[in-house]
């Protein structure tokens, strides 16, 4: 690097900084720092004249590095980087000293504040001297998308993407589209038919020119990075054989849905032993045929619905499956319609009616005289066969929370609201597409609140109940959000890759592989031949975890190198 020519600019920010910090003193102190050729105070550095000043000095004193002591870099770093760029200096030759938010605004003693401001500015000057020029790069964005799972979420996303002109591959494991929704009769809370809703979508998907529906197929491999993935898909043939195909895609939407909890795991309910204890999905089947009846073929006089089967308990899953409460209320309506004069009781823990129209639906369900019985978490109701003297087939003993009584309710048919579970192979899928699962096997989103659609791997999105139990509207919303995110990128055509990322110096890497598992974005690859690790810069988000962990300092964090931070440490302490 040729001779260092640093310009230091100390902003008064009107009086925001100047009223506490002696800016001239800071300027004076910085003027004598190594490499500093210009040092000036100014009223408002971020103002146009302020930026002009920097540009002018760069040309006049041919500065090659700039320090701006002003507000937080989180505020104006972009502004001043532009100024440098304008003057033909690489924008990364800028360093800011935060003497407002972290100095003048939080300290009232002018002497101490000024000392601190000097230290921070000195640190910035020493640091900027070790900066290196960095270039932002961009890669092409492939407009094709791979959707894993042909359920309501997968199809909704696919349609949006395809309508916008992108090619979509839907990979569905079963021999038909529709996923779990296809197993449902009516939907809560408006009691309209799921199949009506579904058929429309399925036809559109199948007939859509931009959508390739691959039934009885599975994704076998996924390589590459955002905008440039290559997927390997294996499809079953009718003659029993298989056919493999390679697809180029820019993004992936994982919409693999959920599986229902195995009711047999809870012994208290006698599922599998008592003939008339059935799961919600078995009831759906009955409802679709329109005939709700006991195994003996009789119409049940008493139907009991037990909530939270496998959900919200310590033994199985602590989470709430979110759709069962409303589904159970739906059953109350449907059963009463199918079997007039039948008594329905809902044995529940809490009634979670959070969604649109759900609370009204809850009210309506109680109006049709559904008996709600509340039980305590982890204190399971017990289902047993009734005796001949009772006018019912089974009896359910509940420690009823609202009355504090232990009561027994009659039942001829018991419906278990089985909760949602991550699919048993979710771990594999996660590994396949480089995302992670939580302890329950649900896929982890990039940010629980601000980015619930993306994942830690750029270009891989999640939609529907594979992330966490969801009802249809939520699944569809997430799916279409994912589609939107992808379309935004396709529209740009190119993907900007930040110039700040980690790099492995292969001459120093010993291949110890400490770093391999540390990257949340799976940006580190290990090359077996060379016995070296290297970073896929397109995936790296520059957190620096691997850099700090590398025992032989073979990984460098661009713009946050050891040398730069050491210089800063020396700066603040000198």
């Amino acid at each position: 690097m040729d001779e260092q020519r640093i310009g230091v600019y100390v902003c008064n920010c009107g009086t925001n900084i100047a009223k506490v910090v002696d800016c001239d003193a800071v300027v004076e102190a910085s003027a004598s720092l190594p490499g500093v050729v210009v040092a000036r105070p100014y009223k408002y550095m971020c103002s146009n004249p302020g930026q002009e000043m920097i540009v002018a000095d760069i040309t006049e004193h041919d500065l090659n590095r700039v320090v701006v002591a002003a507000c937080s870099p989180r505020m104006h770093e972009p502004t001043f980087r532009k100024a440098l760029q304008k003057a033909g200096v690489n924008p990364y030759f800028l360093e800011m000293a935060n003497i407002r938010e972290q100095c003048s605004w939080v300290h009232h003693d002018p002497v101490e504040a000024t000392d601190k401001a000097k230290a921070l500015t000195r640190a910035a000057a020493l640091r900027v001297a070790r900066h290196e020029p960095l270039e932002r790069r961009s890669v092409d964005m492939c407009p094709n998308t791979l959707v894993i799972g042909g359920g309501i979420a997968g199809m909704s996303a696919a349609l949006d993407l395809a309508d916008a002109g992108g090619k979509v591959y839907i990979v569905e494991r079963n021999d038909h589209l529709g996923g779990n929704v296809a197993r449902v009769d009516l939907t809560a809370p408006y009691l309209d038919s799921a199949s009506d809703m579904l058929t429309g979508r399925v036809t559109r998907v199948v007939e859509h020119g931009n959508i390739d529906v691959l039934l009885e197929s599975e994704v076998k491999s996924l390589e590459g990075f955002v905008g440039n993935f290559h997927g390997g898909i294996r499809s079953k043939l009718h003659d029993g054989g298989v056919v493999d195909q390679e697809v180029d895609i820019g993004s992936v939407i994982v919409a693999t849905g959920y599986k229902e909890f195995d009711a047999g795991r809870i012994t208290h309910y006698g599922y599998g032993k008592l003939p008339n204890v059935i799961t919600s999905f078995e009831l759906e089947k009955m409802l679709r045929t329109g005939r709700v009846e006991t195994k003996e073929g009789g119409a049940p006089q008493y139907v009991a619905i037990i909530h939270c089967v496998g959900s919200r308990n310590l033994e199985f899953h602590t989470y709430c499956s979110r759709v069962c409460c409303m589904t159970a209320l739906k059953y109350a309506h449907e059963i009463k319609a199918a079997v007039p004069g039948c008594y329905v009781s809902d044995v529940y823990i809490d009634m979670h009616a959070f969604g649109k129209g759900h609370e009204d639906f809850y009210r309506r369900s109680s109006e049709v005289k559904t008996l709600f019985l509340m039980y305590e978490k982890n204190d399971y109701p017990v289902v047993r066969r009734a005796e001949s003297k009772d006018d019912c087939e089974m009896l359910i003993e509940v420690n009823e929370k609202l009355s504090g009584e232990t009561i027994e309710i009659p039942a001829d048919l018991v419906v278990l609201m089985v909760g949602m579970e991550a699919r048993e192979d979710s771990e594999e899928v996660a590994r396949l597409v480089n995302i992670s699962c939580d302890k329950d096997g649900w896929f982890i989103e990039s940010h629980p609140k601000l980015d619930p659609v993306a994942t830690t791997t750029d270009g891989i999105f999640i939609a529907g109940a594979c992330q966490y139990p969801k009802d249809i509207p939520d699944s569809v919303a997430q799916a279409r959000a994912a589609a939107g995110r992808i379309l935004a990128r396709i529209a740009r055509g190119q993907l900007e890759i930040d110039a700040v990322f980690a790099e492995v110096d292969e001459d120093r890497c010993s291949g110890c592989r400490i770093c391999n598992d540390l990257c949340p974005y799976s940006a580190i690859e290990y090359d077996e031949e060379k016995g070296r690790s290297h970073v896929i810069s397109a995936l790296c988000k520059a957190c620096g975890a691997c850099v700090a962990a590398c025992p032989s300092s073979a990984i460098t964090a661009r713009h946050f190198t050891d040398a730069q931070i050491f210089a800063q440490i020396e700066g603040v302490l000198a």
Partner: protein, 144 residues
């Protein structure tokens, strides 16, 4: 004239540094003893930085990251959480008082918390007195 400690603070960009900025925008006054160095994530903080800071004359080192579970990079802060106790063991063996090095979780909304931590730590380190390192090394020079 009481001893004024110098503390080096390593703050993660997304939570803690933003939290410190918030303390500023909310004009929350706190001790001027901490000099902040910004890193992208607490996981970037190499224990070497801490040793370097201490030997270069810092009387204390403050490390701040996102609260567990809130890391911008999803798991960076856990890496720091793991390194810290081991670093403390190392420092303890070198006879550095425990309170000179501190790890805290500060979210972007916890300006007040950041200020409180800085004040508290400044007091504790002030009570400990200057870092023994400079003196010890000076003593070594003297004995030869």
């Amino acid at each position: 004239m009481t001893f004024e400690p110098t503390i080096v603070g390593f703050l993660c960009n997304w939570c803690s540094y933003t939290g410190a900025d918030l303390a500023g925008t909310s004009r929350i006054q706190y001790a001027p003893n901490v000099r902040i160095i910004r890193v992208m994530c607490s996981a970037r903080i190499d224990p070497t930085f801490v040793l370097k800071a201490l030997t270069d004359g810092a009387d204390g080192v403050l490390i701040c990251g996102c609260h567990p579970g809130d890391c911008h990079y999803s798991e960076g802060n856990y890496k720091m959480m793991r390194r810290f106790p081991l670093l403390k063991t190392l420092l303890a063996d070198y006879g550095i008082e425990e309170e000179r090095v501190r790890l805290e979780w500060v979210s972007a909304s916890e300006g007040q918390r950041f200020a409180d931590i800085v004040n508290d730590m400044t007091e504790r380190v002030r009570a400990l007195g200057p870092s023994p390192i400079k003196m010890a090394l000076a003593h070594d020079m003297a004995e030869r």
